[in-house]
Amino acid sequence: MSIFVDETTKVVVQGISPTSQGLYHGLRNRAYGTQVVAGTNPKRGGAEIEGIPVFATVAEAVAATGATASFISVPPPHAAAAILEAAAAGISFVVCITEGIPAQDEAVTYNRLVQEFGGTRLLGPNCPGIISPGKCNIGITSGDIALPGGPVGIVSRSGTLTYQALHELSQQGVGQTTCVGIGGDPVPGTNFIDCLAAFQADPDTKAVMMIGEIGGSEEERAAQYIADHMTKPVVAYVAGVTAPPGRKMGHAGAIISGSSGTAQAKMAALSEAGVEVAQNQTEAGVRMVELVKELG
């Protein structure tokens, strides 16, 4: 099994046009085997692009195709509205990879989702997306570096480190159930705990790799959750041990404020929760491979 998305997931790509990022990635996702059933564009309703039927709105796309998930890569000024449109149309899983959405928009959008559209889960923004190897890939992760069959679930705040994790596990013959990139923004729609809970409940996931970074306190909260609720082993890496305070390290959410949000504090909290904490991503990969062997 896998979490959040699988072979039954039907994806609508929002904001599709012959030159859009959405089309580029949507076609890659379709080539991977994802059911990309529709696109939306208010000016192109009724058209078809590369065999993908285009509708003016998400609601029309859902009515016509039964789409259950949406993929958003529209520019920052339009992303919040796109997320809410998907939710209002009854989409249950929205993946938004858009980087650069203002934090104020994210805060309003997240709370509107919670208050008005409880049935919708948002992944991102500013994330690489999600892949359940061999079943469904929504976002920008390269399908080539993932290996189907489990038993490892991956959840990560970073993009490139996630690819490295996938690649290093796959090369050692260790597959993945699902790899979720939750993104590096201050108000992520889906957090570590959401994913850890789903992995804990997924019978095919035997171990979880968690990749954190500086800023906020999600890793500490995840550590508490692991200590209280998880029986499956977790291996973690946290980037940014040497990051200076007060500077955003690439991601809008990756900032040490005062004494909070440091990698050291996060690593200590995870260690205390019984998580195996690696000093770098490769070490985390090596440890996970050993762990999977031990699990048989």
């Binding site: 890659r28 920052p76 000024p77 650069g100 959405i101 203002p102 934090a103 104020q104 805060a107 309003v108 997240y110 709370n111 509107r112 208050q115 690489p128 920008i140 992760t141 390269s142 080539d144 570096i145 990560s156 705040r157 970073s158 993009g159 490139t160 480190l161 996630t162 690819y163 490295q164 690649h167 590096g184 201050p186 108000v187 990749i211 970074e213 500086i214 906020g216 306190s217 999600e218 909260r221 890496y237 980037a239 940014g240 041990v241 040497t242 990051a243 200076p244 500077r247 955003k248 390290m249 690439g250 991601h251 809008a252 990756a254 005062g258 990698a263 000093q279 770098n280 991503q281 490769t282």
Partner: protein
């Protein structure tokens, strides 16, 4: 983007938040002119993006032109925690009856806005939070519904501000919240917020951090870009559209992805080196971006060796290798480079690079080995 106090106060005024009359001065003569306009006595304040200005002697009261000359002369050029003072803010000195604290920021775990208000202002709020947490009235605000006047008024009561300040403070807090939300701030903080002996409430300081992601809808922020950073390396990088932060070590870093770039800094540190910078070139990693990145690193005199750490996901490693080779032909590098290329099509990428390898361009298969090599080179 952090604003200087004077920029923060100018930003506050857009939203109607009262501040003292004053102006900016880059010279002693300008300081006197601003003081004459603001009216004596005045406060001469160093403009640096760091706390503790008062203790460092960067904030002085002046009763007349002579004292303004004396203080402005002493403060301009002063070093405050590694920041050189190039600019002053000169404002009319307020008669302070009480000092309060007010701020808005995002409460990340709660995913709500957080207002903090305290009748104990003028000191570090972290200190108040540690020693007397009960002195801070915290207000969680739903970003969808916002903060209205009635809620602000109740909050002021809860924080126990002086009776004379309460109505004005409630108005000001609504204005500050509007500044924080509509003005796209990550942080809008007033410390101290004062009640004057004449019974007026206004902002005596301004600490504003703007959300860089909101630049697209704030053309007025353009004027802040010129003073955004004092680090010439950062200025050069930002002009080239690069995501760069200057640090103090001797190993130049180029990586794709923020997490990998951070991780690269960590691994360099782990093997005994220190990074000269953080630089995330994003997913693209083509020749133009790579050349721009190398130019910026090359201009940093403290860099002794360069670590290029690329993991190819969608960006294939062979494309990255071509980009590196082309960039190297365009930039005349002072320092040797150690490359670690891994990911999709890594083998093809390494074969492309093989004929170009030398003692100035080295390749290592793993991040750790590459880090060891580059740190050795930087130390030699």
């Amino acid at each position: 983007m952090d604003l200087y106090e004077y920029q923060g106060k100018q930003y506050f005024r857009r939203f109607g938040i009262p501040t003292s009359p004053g102006g900016v001065a880059d010279t002693v003569d300008e300081a006197v002119t601003q003081a004459e306009q603001a009216g004596y006595p005045v406060v001469v304040k160093a403009q640096v993006k760091v706390g503790g200005r008062g203790k460092a002697g960067g904030i002085k009261l002046a009763a007349d032109a002579e004292e303004v000359r004396q203080h402005a002369g002493a403060i301009l050029g002063m070093d405050i925690k590694g920041h050189t003072v190039h600019r002053l803010w000169v404002e009319h000195a307020s008669d302070i009856a009480k000092e309060y604290y007010a701020s808005f920021t995002l409460d990340r775990p709660a995913k709500l806005h957080l207002g903090m208000l305290s009748a104990t202002g003028g000191v570090e709020i972290e200190e108040v939070a540690a020693t007397n947490p009960g002195a801070i009235a915290r207000l969680s605000i739903d970003p969808v519904t916002g903060l209205d006047r009635a809620a602000a008024r109740r909050w002021v009561d809860e924080a126990d501000l002086d009776e004379a300040a309460r109505d004005q403070a409630a108005d000001l807090l609504v204005q500050l919240y509007t500044c924080y939300t509509e003005g796209d701030c990550d942080l809008a903080e007033i410390n101290p917020l004062i009640l004057t002996t004449e019974g007026r409430v206004h902002a005596l300081d301004a600490k504003v951090t703007l959300d860089d992601n909101a630049r697209f809808r704030h053309p007025e922020w353009e004027e802040y870009a010129a003073t955004e950073t004092e680090d010439p390396r950062e200025r050069m990088a930002h002009e080239r559209g690069l995501n760069y932060i200057g640090l103090e070590g001797s190993v130049g870093i180029i990586a794709n992805g923020a997490g990998l770039a951070m991780s690269t800094l960590d691994v360099v540190n782990q093997v005994g080196g220190r990074a000269a910078n953080f630089l995330d070139i994003g997913g693209g990693a083509n020749a133009d971006v790579m050349a721009a990145a190398l130019e910026v690193i090359n201009a940093d005199p403290s860099v002794k060796a360069i670590f290029v750490n690329i993991f190819g996901g969608i960006t294939r490693v062979d494309e990255v290798a071509k980009g590196v080779i082309e960039a190297l032909q365009r930039v005349d590098l002072r320092s040797p480079i150690v490359l670690r290329l891994d990911g999709t099509n890594a083998e093809e990428g390494r074969s492309l690079l093989a004929p170009h390898l030398s003692d100035r361009l080295l390749a290592e298969p793993t991040m750790l080995e590459a880090a060891r090599r580059v740190v050795t080179l930087a130390g030699a």
